[in-house]
Symmetry: C2
Subunit: 450 residues, 2 copies
């Protein structure tokens, strides 16, 4: 049995409704992979203390630190860190057709593994304890996640153009990954409503067997318009009639979700969620951001993500959280919407739901997984602190994260990874980076024409 | 005579037109306050080297670092760091009338000095070497700037409601600050077109005597509409007919600048600039951002700023630069506009112009002031690097800045301030923070009703 005590720490409390708050001077008691108690400092005898018989494995001094639920990156393509900065100043069509999909001809298992290791390092150092991934060679991503100590939900990506054998292989990998490690879950990963046929979506839903379907849909207003013009239905209607919503979906982006789609999504709100990655929508000049207000009114959980670093340039979930708050206020022309508490709830409970891990992660309370980030708010850019919630949403940097636990394991201690040799991870990525962005091969894994 | 040699560093080159680039393996030679040469590493004998007779004061190893022009915060109210996080989730009316202007009743010289010291610390540690300020007790801000080693242009703020003596005192302070220190320049600081009468704006322009007028104007579309309804003219037309544009202005925000204002601004483009702080426009749900494309087409220089931390929550100019790129692409529905090069040019040459320091700062070349930030891009969130310009705009963090020079003086070395005791600066700010946000006094320094 492993034990960790985080002593004398402030704790972010995120209730289901109402205001978030910070409780000061708390002890967080961790046993194996779970939080077993949170008590006022010194109120409960520490394991290993005189008079108790339990061995104490580690005490972390939380004095001056704020404990927050480990962040969740609710939609990403982690190995794409290898293409960071290689596809700039392009609209979505050119981004896909002139850069990303031609580059992805270069994917190999090794290159994906190297990229995933770098991604896990970046995320853990920034306080991200779970990521929800959608990419090729997902077994390599699983290996990197297991090695690094991070938690992941992995969806092996497929296009209909790849043929039935490739799709079957993706299904098989989802099944295989589901049983590999307690920190790994797996989802089905059709790429999008515009790259996977309705027939294949239907087959995916039929074979879901309790697993979620993670896919891109209604990414832009233009995609929705094209879908209506070509097929007479919105992408969300496609997801309903193919059974994807019935099976349970994580919809990436959804900026093109229409008012008329909301009642549909409401019917499946117990099993269907949306991930929002707004930095990307601005950078690609997509014209809209996710209609989070409407989705929340329909009872649909929304999480926060970065998307891949080939467009977001970082896997910094703090940045993504801030962008959600800012762009939602802008979208609704309402500075009193997406408050500090709304934003923190979305980033914690919402993202946990998007990861398919409601009740497991997302909140610091007894019984939940011990996925915890300790944040140091003492640097000048956060001081003085009139409201620590405002610091978390509007001034904190990923570099303010000092210690991170996932499933009770200390994976970052004093800003250093404990699980991987960062120098080696960076060197490998640097060595292989040029091979990923090489356009001399010709061809592309897909063509964007929604 | 003081000498610094930054050896074997990469250098960001920002031409007036066209693509920015990074030159690798350069030596930057600094003498006293200026850059005297930038040469391929080892190409020019270092001062102090055998065979030369000049004494060498300091060599900085630039290996693995990228030298960029010290950042410029082209519009801020630095002491408002003392109100960081104290006015959240409010629209602009309530932000002013329920929080900020009632809080500013509490301003004292000491509190402003303490806030300005903290602000200078935050900015220098993040690579900001110049800030353009607009606030009360500007002599205290000057003292903090001089002490910290940062460069500043300071505009003592005044409202017409404060009466003629207060306005005269503000004019007097501008004159006084102008001669205080080589790193300090001063501008005239009427608050805004809606808080200063046309008569007082005219008097300001008449007494400018070659100094610039830094003020808020056309901050929102609503302000412009109100101005047209009440007075029959846009705020920019007010600035023209009162002689402010003729004298030379730095216009903060300008989100409400109309198409018809552009030909007016074009006439004064040799002396009138605009500062854009887009995080604030989203956070306050102002509905628009600065029309930078139109302004640039009219030949008007635009700089990047944070505004005060009571709304921006940081004085992080990297964050402000990124928000400019993202929101401009969004505004123009054009992912190919505000490219990496456009953005970096705005943040360097544009901000230097906004600071009234064209030809002095903003570019790394011989003859310019030695205001230099050395950035370490080796951390996972920037790696691998396919394009260092993309790293600067979309992935770098202020915490990646390791060394900073202002006017040839090393003010940050290995992420530590050399000029101030940071512990003391933070402790003072913490001690006084509650006094700034106390609303029990009643009253307000002004009322927002544009």
């Amino acid at each position: 049995m492993s034990r960790v005590l985080i002593r004398n720490v402030s704790v972010l409390v995120v209730p289901e409704q109402g205001e978030c708050r910070v409780d000061e001077a708390q002890d967080i008691h961790v046993q194996d992979d779970r939080i077993v108690a949170i008590t006022p400092t010194g109120g409960l005898a520490a394991p290993g203390a005189p008079g108790t018989r339990e061995p104490l494995f580690e005490v972390i001094d939380g004095d001056g630190l704020l404990a927050v639920p480990g962040l969740v990156n609710s939609h990403t393509h982690s190995p794409m860190v290898m293409m960071r900065g290689a596809a700039e100043d392009l609209a979505i069509e050119d981004w896909f057709n002139r850069r990303i999909w031609p580059m992805e001809v270069n994917l190999t298992a090794e290159r994906v593994r190297v990229g995933a290791r770098l991604a896990c390092a970046e995320m853990l150092l920034g306080g991200v304890t779970t990521f929800v991934d959608h990419y090729f060679h997902a077994d390599q991503i699983a290996a990197a996640a297991i090695e690094s100590g991070i938690r992941a939900d992995l969806a092996p990506t497929f296009f209909s153009s790849a043929g039935q054998d490739a799709i079957d292989a993706a299904f098989e990998m989802t099944r295989d990954l589901s049983t590999r490690h307690p920190r790994i879950t797996a989802s089905l990963g059709p790429h999008a409503t515009y790259t996977v046929t309705d027939e294949d979506l239907r087959r995916t839903a039929d074979r879901a067997d309790g697993r979620r379907i993670h896919l891109h849909a209604a990414e832009t207003v233009d995609q929705t318009r094209a879908s209506v013009e070509k097929h007479g239905v919105t992408p969300i209607q496609v997801l309903e009639r193919t059974g994807v919503l019935e099976a349970g979906a994580l919809i990436a982006h959804g900026c093109g979700i229409r008012e008329e789609d909301l009642p549909i999504l409401q019917r499946y709100a117990d099993r269907t969620t949306v991930a929002s990655c707004p930095k990307v929508y601005l950078k690609l000049a997509m014209g809209e951001v996710t209609p989070i207000k409407g989705l929340r009114s329909a009872g649909v959980d929304v999480g926060v993500g970065t998307d891949g670093a080939a467009v977001h340039n970082t896997l910094d979930v703090w940045e993504a959280i801030r962008m959600v708050a800012l762009t939602q206020k802008q979208r609704e022309h309402d500075a009193e919407w997406m408050t500090l508490s709304d934003t923190l709830r979305l980033a914690t409970r919402g993202s946990a739901a998007a990861a398919g891990l409601t009740d497991q992660i997302g909140v610091l309370e007894p019984g939940r997984q011990a996925d915890i980030a300790l944040v140091d708010l003492s640097a000048p850019h956060n001081q003085p602190i009139h409201d620590p919630r405002a610091a978390l949403v509007y001034s904190v940097r990923a570099s303010d994260v000092v210690t991170v636990l996932v499933a009770g394991q200390v994976v970052v201690r004093d800003r250093q990874l404990t699980t991987m040799d960062l120098t080696e991870v960076l060197a490998e990525a640097k060595d292989l980076a040029h091979t990923l962005v090489d356009l001399s091969q010709g061809g592309a894994v897909q063509h964007y024409a929604p």
